[in-house]
Amino acid sequence: MTTVEPPDRIPASLRTEALEQLLTERGLLDSNALDEVITNYETKVGPLNGAKVVAKAWTDPEYRRWLLDDSTAAIRELGFIGVQTEHVVVVENTETSHHVVVCTLCSCYPWQLLGLPPSWYKDPIYRARIVKEPRKVLSEMGLELAEDVHITVHDSSSEVRWLVLPERPAGTENFSEDQLVALITREAMVGVAKVAAP
């Protein structure tokens, strides 16, 4: 497809406003429906959901086993199966094995567990390079892995979604699930960071 570029590109914010106005005028758009979508992704769907799954797996050995054996069922139990998160495979990071997730073709991401993807995940730098030189890219992102750690990259090329179960940091043995949730980042659940010790 080719588009003819105007001499000065109109800002996306103005083009968004124009589109919203055009659809509203013609009765095709209910602005409440628009606000509902936005509020849902700003407040209800986010990495807190994934963090709850991880914290439960860290504190409940039976749940951890279930999560690793039948991830979708164990996640459905907590209510986080839905749009863009229909079937999930959870992979566990250990001292010797590190998993990291990408979508090279677009930016597929487990929305119900982690929210909409952060900018680094959508960046061509990450999408292009993590499948070719993961150790180098992770190092540039601030994660140095020892030479004997085996890396597995998961390219999300279908509707299967991948979630990383990070290593539980030392010094959290007496933490409650809620205290653990507060430590867990989306970066750790994609595999570009570890969960830092408190």
Binding site: M1, T3, R9, I10, A12, S13, L14, R15, T16, E17, A18, L19, E20, Q21, L22, L23, L28, L29, L34, D35, V37, I38, Y41, E42, E86, H87, V89, T104, L105, C106, S107, G115, L116, P118, S119, W120, K122, D123, P124, I125, Y126, R127, A128, V131, K132, E133, P134, V137, E140, M141, H150, I151, T152, V153, D155, S156, S157, S158, E159, V160
Partner: protein
């Protein structure tokens, strides 16, 4: 489709940076609206998620990159709506220029040509009667198919051999669904590739998995 969206292994992007940890969902207000408009445009036009992804892939380089991820949503929404004749071509541009004080004539909206696409069920997972053609531990080769339209078989995997690690549930085939040519649900296989098989002997040692539809694969010796 062999375009800019198929980025795996492409060169020239520069170094990665440490993630910003407190990034909001929509750093700018228009981004949330563009996201929601993309979503609602697909509904209005009677399209599906695969057709929307294909619309994103069809954007030219400027429309793909200039305003980032949410810019892609906005521009793909425009493509969905003009393809469905819910908007006249250039309608958004004309209105936007009027919004900033110019006086541009706006063409009347055309007669809508929306799809009456009805999915067989919600979401993408389906039940199929057939048994999976491949099993865990099978050696398989990703077919070397240069796709005419939408596909979820990345360029960098084509022609390469790996091992099935998981048989995933059957799912709607994006290659036909994106073009409204039927759901054709198929099993999906997680296939493990060695980095040297994909990128040659000088590459870092690591493993990569892709989730590939049955028709993308053939048995390898």
């Amino acid at each position: 489709m062999d375009g800019i969206a198929d980025m795996g292994g492409t060169e020239g992007w520069g170094p990665a940076h440490p993630p910003r940890l407190d990034e909001p969902t929509f750093p700018e207000p228009w981004q949330g609206r563009a996201f929601a408009l993309g979503w609602l445009s697909v509904e209005l036009a009677g399209w599906n998620v695969d057709a929307f992804r294909h619309a994103v892939e069809r954007l030219d380089r400027t429309d793909y990159f200039a305003d980032g991820y949410f810019g892609r949503w906005l521009n793909a929404a425009e493509l969905v709506l003009t393809d469905s004749a819910l908007l006249a071509p250039s309608a958004i541009q004309a209105r936007a220029r009027n919004l900033r004080g110019e006086t541009i004539e706006e063409r009347p909206a055309p007669e809508p040509a929306t799809r009456d696409f009805v999915p067989a069920a919600e979401g993408s997972l389906r039940t199929v009667d057939a048994t999976p053609s491949f099993q865990v531990s099978d050696r398989v080769r990703a077919r070397n198919i240069p796709p005419a339209g939408h596909t979820r078989l990345p360029r960098y995997a084509r022609g390469h051999t790996g091992v099935v690690t998981l048989v995933q549930p059957a799912s709607v085939l994006p290659d036909t669904n994106a073009h409204f040519k039927g759901e054709n649900p198929q099993y999906v296989y997680s296939v493990r590739f060695d980095s040297h098989e994909l990128w040659g002997q000088d590459t870092e040692p690591f493993t990569l998995t892709l989730d590939l539809f049955e028709s993308y694969l053939e048995k390898a010796a």
